[in-house]
Every structure is written in C-alpha cells, then in structure tokens.
Symmetry: C2
C-alpha cells in the first residue's frame, strides 16, 4: 500500500527533525516529492494526525505540531503515572524469555553510541531505537495490549517533544539509570524498579526543561 510507505517516510522525517515545529506539511509538495497522488499523502497525513505527529488546522492544512514546554511536561507526567504501574505488572508476570529479552535489549542499548560527531547535536537514530526497545521490552511482559499501545503513543509524543525541547543535554543518556533498571527488573524487585523508572523520567524531563540543564551520570 502506497499510503503506508508515505506514512512511514513522513513519520521518520518528523521524528528525525527534518521539519521544524509549526512547519506546514503541504499535500501537493509531498505528493510531488514522493511521486504519488494527493489522495495518498492526504491519507498518510490524516493517520499522522491520529498519532499526534501532525496537527490539522481546519481549512489551513497540516503542520508539524508545535509542542509547548507545558505539553512536554504533561506527557512526562503521564509517563510517570502509567509506566511504573505497568512495569510492576511486567515484573510480576515476566517469564525467562522476557528476562532474556531485557538483557539483550539492555546490552544493545549500552553498546550503542548515543552521540556521534557527524550526526549533529542529537543522539543517533540507532541509539534512539535501542532506547525505545529497552523501555518497551521492560514493560511488554505485562501482556496487556491496551497498556502497551498507551506506552507506544506516549513514547512517540515524548520523543517528538524531546527532539525540540529548549535544552538539549548531550551528556545525559541515563546509562547508569538503565543499568539499575535492568538490574531491579531481573531481580524482580518491583519497588526499586518502579522508583528508578520514576527517577529516570523525572531527571530526563528536568534536564530538558530546566534552565540549569544539569548533566547526570
């Protein structure tokens, strides 16, 4: 399906920061660039709006969302509310296969360089993906599709907001927090794991919104 390809391409471009926040996404231009018809780009854009990756201004077309600092903090708070609870369920229910996948995901994350000189000031695409997979894997033994879909949605919004947050903090990748998270999860220590996760989320949002922008290990 053509619209699927266009959707994937656009999603990647927006998440990668190829467009600035607020920038118009003109169906005609996109159609010409990708060599497809208006209907196809239109469908992709409508889907993007549904996922929160584009805004729709009635009769004024589509645009990359403008994320306020406030919105970013709301998303972070939502994650602090939901993810620890899901993590507890996951730790409760996970089997050996899950443990193995957590180890694998953490290993990949720890060994993937977060920043490389030539890719600008942001972390690499490979690290972003490894980061997502690690957090997703931690939760996915909860076995509840509705909760995991909620996680996916919040993660996407979170990454988009983070991409454009005022204060980028290249020194912070939370490696130590990830290590403690893996450790607590595999030890089935739900209290510690939940606490570390809350701290991780709190520090991340703090590093990206505070004027001080404190670095962390």
């Amino acid at each position: 399906m053509l619209s699927e390809q266009v959707y994937a391409q656009l999603q990647g471009a927006i998440m990668r920061g190829d467009y600035s926040p607020g920038e118009a996404l003109k169906p005609q231009d996109l159609a010409r660039e990708q060599g497809v018809s208006l209907a196809v780009t239109r469908e992709a854009l409508v889907r993007l709006v549904g996922e929160g990756l584009a805004d729709r201004l009635p009769n004024r077309g589509f645009a990359v969302p403008l994320l306020s600092d406030h919105r970013w903090q709301e998303i972070a708070e939502a994650r602090r509310v939901i993810e620890p609870a899901v993590l507890r369920m996951s730790i409760e229910r996970g089997d050996v296969d899950w443990e193995a996948r957590v180890r694998a995901a953490h290993h990949r994350l720890a060994r993937t360089p977060a920043y490389v000189p030539e890719e600008g000031e942001h972390y690499t695409g490979a690290w972003a993906e490894a980061h997502r997979v690690f957090h997703r894997t931690l939760l996915d033994a909860c076995g509840n599709r509705a909760l995991l879909e909620t996680f996916d949605r919040l993660w996407t919004a979170s990454e988009l907001a983070r991409r454009w947050s005022a204060h980028r903090d290249p020194d912070r990748d939370g490696a130590e927090e990830h290590r403690r998270l893996e450790e607590a999860a595999l030890a089935r220590d739900a209290d510690t794991a939940a606490a570390v996760l809350v701290q991780h989320l709190t520090l991340t949002v703090a590093a990206l919104t505070d004027a001080s922008g404190q670095a962390s290990p």
Copy 2:
C-alpha cells in the same frame, strides 16, 4: 469539513451498534448513502481506524472491529491500572468549580433513565453519554491532557467492547457505586475513591464476561 460529519456519523453508528462486529464498511456504499465522494468516506474510515473504531484489512477494505473477550478484559485491566491513579491526582488538584461539575454530572447521571423499553435491550444513548461525562469529569481536574486523552481512548474502546459483550446485564447500572464515587471524591478521600473506582470497573467487567452474569445493585 465534510469528512468531519461523515466521521461523526460513522462513529455514532458503530458505537450505537448499527453495524455488527466484523461487518465490512464499504467506502462506496457509505459514500452513496451520505451523498459524498469516496475520498471523504475514505478519510473518515482512516480516522476511525486510528481511534480503534474500525479495522483495516490490507487490500480488503475496512470493517467494524471484532472484539474478543480477551481484548475486552485487557481494556478493563488497563482502566483499572490508569484511572485510579488519575482520579487521585484529580482529587488532589480539583477546585470548587470541579466539585460543582462533579455534582452536576452525577445528578444528571442519576436522573437519566438507563433503560427504556422501546430502545431495545441496551441502555439509552443519553445515559451512556451522562455516564461518560461523569467519569470524565471525575478525572479532568488532573489537568493533564495526555492522561485525559488516554482515558478518552480507553473509554471508547471499552464502550464498544461492552456493546458487543456476550452477557448484557440490564439490571446493572452501578448507581450505588457512582454515588459512593461522587461522595468520596467530594470528600477528597482519594483512597476510598480509588478503591470504589477499581471495584466499579471490576464488577462491570465481571458482570459482562462471567457466564454467571450476576446482577448487582
């Protein structure tokens, strides 16, 4: 915008149960019925898929979702995980205006008949809406759009699943639980409110999935 109207119409029809689960949603038929072009119905259907109110079968078109009993229980579990936490925040942060809106929403819910003979075996549209507004109002003082959007999404999925659940239980409308919920919320008793909410959600899913189908006050 035309697609908006078509979307609203379709959403209503699906939630109302005008189509059976699994039934195909043919763009051509819908376009003819509503007197619009294919592009318009197509856009509405794509949006519906995004909201989980329609399934998309690649190259086989759109259809009303088939909800398994398992899926329904997952959604209910997700609500039990998320909503009590949001309710606590709402109780913590709500002001007098919120208290007034909770009272108003509960009053409307309590005074709206849940069932009328002529509207078939299901509760009325007016009651369903009053029910949604009451639960939504309880939570909305949390002030977090991301969390409220999550609630909206889960509520929609929940109502759709409930509509087609195997065991409908016309005697159960949870009036007493709603009363206790209102009482605890206004008394700012977060622990009690959260406990009542969990019980309310648990009883609802139990009444609709158990073969026994026990009625409750």
